[in-house]
């Protein structure tokens, strides 16, 4: 029932004035993909002082800080990593880092009251409009003086920037969404990873012939089907249209969006039935058991499968649907940190957050935890990465355009009160595309207008 530690459905609001931040340019094109992982030459330019505390204009001195994290104690590797970073920092600078560990969902649900009450100096958060909204309303601090950060590429910097052109966020990790499957199942049946929609359809039909449900599917958590919508929209209408739609510049009842739903409708029979009552963990289990052939999810899918199946997992990016659009866009949400405007010690907070973005922090986290994250810092060690992480890095590197996730790219009100329910409604009644898209658009106009 709980959300995956790494995912986080947070969201974003598009206050009208934030629309100036054009995400298309943010994470787009070769610059975006290369820079997201840090271009090596950029690092080289930093010369010999690529240490952990060099660069940037911040003169902030390390001090005692409080650290609000969205992973409860004992919740697994995600908590271990954050705790390890706090410990490493405390030890390095002989300061106290008081960790305030809160359950993932609870943290998100109380974020607005948390920030307006007595927030911790530094807290975990997500890139995207949700971050920008807090910047807009003065809840988080301008930390542009800790930028640039060694090993953090340009695309990350843009994703950390709010509408006023200043940075309010530092990234620490990211994870792509892709189609996962068991290597052994594919090998046994002689299947190959599909490259086009026709390949995929042929594969799905063959799977059905062998009594395997092609796609595992869960929609009990309302955010889960957003991953399918995102990838279909990016494959059918392209990344630019997708981003314009999330920003309210395109209409939800347009022919393009309807085409997405029409295509999804043709794919639904290949998905697991009864998805509205199933959690993603249960869907992951049915893929691990071999009842389902594939599962479109973030890399956190590994948390839902038994250890023996984890080694056997492989993935591919969703195949091409329209050859003029290609298949080089995907969702890869970025997680990171902000300094609360209500922080007791801004300077200590800034010093801490600057260190959190360093390769040293990423290494401290990955060395202490049973499972690594994919570090945003390009200088971070990849020694702990398994095959999945290494491939994730590669996939993101090869992607031309990267979106955050529907509920992180879109106005939070629209995403959480309208789109969630509408996608579930579509899954229930795939025949009602017209009325569903019309309803989303009516509500979108009311919320964004």
């Amino acid at each position: 029932m709980a959300r995956p530690p790494a995912r986080g459905t947070h969201t974003s609001t598009i206050p009208l004035s934030v629309r100036g931040v054009d995400r298309r340019t943010i994470l787009r094109g070769a610059v975006g993909a290369g820079a997201l992982l840090g271009v090596p030459s950029l690092l080289a330019a930093c010369g010999s002082d690529t240490g952990t505390s060099s660069g940037g204009g911040a003169t902030a001195k390390a001090g005692n800080v409080s650290f609000g994290i969205n992973e409860a104690k004992g919740s697994g590797p995600a908590n271990e990593r954050l705790q390890a970073m706090a410990d490493a920092y405390a030890k390095k600078n002989s300061v106290t880092v008081s960790v305030n560990a809160v359950d993932h969902n609870t943290f998100q649900e109380s974020i607005t009251t948390y920030l307006q009450g007595t927030p911790d100096d530094v807290f975990t958060w997500f890139a995207g409009y949700r971050m920008a909204q807090f910047a807009e309303s003065g809840q988080i601090s301008d930390i542009s003086d800790v930028w640039p950060l060694d090993g953090i590429g340009d695309a990350f910097k843009k994703a950390s920037t709010a509408s006023d052109g200043k940075q309010y966020f530092v990234p620490v990790s990211y994870y792509p969404w892709a189609v996962f499957h068991r290597k052994s199942v594919f090998e046994k049946n002689g299947w190959t990873q599909p490259k086009t929609l026709d390949d995929l359809k042929a594969l799905m039909t063959e799977m059905q012939g062998k009594k395997i449900t092609p796609f595992a599917f869960a929609a009990k958590d309302a955010w889960a089907p957003m991953g399918t919508f995102d990838i279909l929209n990016m494959r059918i209408n392209g990344y630019d249209f997708h981003m314009e739609l999330t920003k309210g510049k395109q209409k939800w009842d347009s022919a393009e969006v309807r085409k997405v739903f029409e295509t999804w409708k043709t794919l639904l029979p290949f998905h697991q039935e009864n998805s509205l009552g199933r959690t993603w963990q249960e869907a992951a289990t049915s893929m691990a058991k071999g009842e389902c052939g594939m599962y479109l999810l973030g890399t956190f899918v590994v948390d839902g499968v038994p250890t023996d199946a984890q080694e056997d997992l492989d993935f591919f990016t969703f195949p091409e649907i329209d050859s003029s659009i290609g298949s080089d866009a995907l969702d890869a949400p970025i997680d990171g940190f902000c300094v609360a405007a209500g922080a007791k010690d801004q300077e200590a907070g800034k010093a801490f957050i600057k260190w959190l973005a360093s390769a040293e922090a990423a290494d401290a986290a990955n060395n202490a935890a049973s499972a690594p994250f994919i570090a945003a810092n390009s200088a971070a060690s990849t020694a702990k990465y398994g095959a999945l992480q290494k491939k994730s890095v590669e996939v993101v590197q090869n992607a031309k355009s990267i979106a955050q996730f529907l509920d992180r790219d879109t106005n939070a009100d629209l995403a959480n009160t309208v789109i969630t329910a509408s996608l579930q409604d579509f899954i229930k009644n795939p025949g009602n595309i017209d009325s569903i898209t019309t309803s989303i658009q009516q509500q979108a106009a009311s919320i964004l207008g």
């Binding site: 309303s137 509205l276 289990t285 049915s286 329910a421």
Partner: protein, 302 residues
Amino acid sequence: MATSTARRQSRSIERRRGTRDRLVVTAMVGIPTILVVWLVWLPAVGSVLLSFTRWNGFQFSAIQWVGTKNYVDIATIYPPFWPAIRHNLIWLVFLFVLPTILGMVLAVVLDREMWGSRFYQTAFYLPVVLSLALVGFIWQLFYSTDQGLINEVFHSKVDWYGNPDVNLWAVLVATAWRHTGYIMLIYLAGLKGIDSSLREAAAVDGASEVKTFFHVIFPVMRPINMIVLVIVVIESLRAFDLVWIINKGRNGLELISALVSQNVIGEATRYGFGSALAVIMMVISSVFITIYLRIVFREDRR
């Protein structure tokens, strides 16, 4: 002389007592009044005012007046609203019919002090003390489509939580599981308080057990019935926790309280819209509260 002194003395004592009494009374009336105004009326009035605005919950300066737009939107283009009203009503009727009657029957049976009645009493009451997160989890083990107990035992494939035609009833059963014990305990307390001479008199008159219950015991328990009535109405209007744990009140489990929360808690910050929903809920509750108060006052007058 002596008496007049005494009288004067007693008068001054009275006066002293009078000021102290007055202070005590003022404090006893004043403090609760301030608390009620501050904690009940101000937020209520605040909600009503906010329901005509649009606000993201941050600076007060960001509040925009939008008139009745929120209400119009709720009634016309907000798909979950009407199902939510319907579900709240179903909830109310269901709680009246099943758990209340069942709780009453259990109370009557357990009141007979049969062997092991303490054990049954505890067993039936246990769900009430469990935290809701736990209740949600327990029923998830029963209802899970692929791994749940019910589908395993009956080899069925029913999507208990996901199928919008079924999930409301599945949740109502889980609610009844909790609610029955609660009602049972209240009736049990009521039955224990009944004068045994009433039963004896009925027995002497040759009334059967059933007749005794309906003609003697049940009417005497009128105050308890009133309390149960109010509890059921309140419980069904504020029904929230289970559906929130299951799927945040979506997909067949829409309830007004869950819609309010969806709009104001956490990820979404539609404070104006959420307030409008809360006001609608408040109006509906006031209807029931008014009916209840009228009955109570009419009785007092009698």
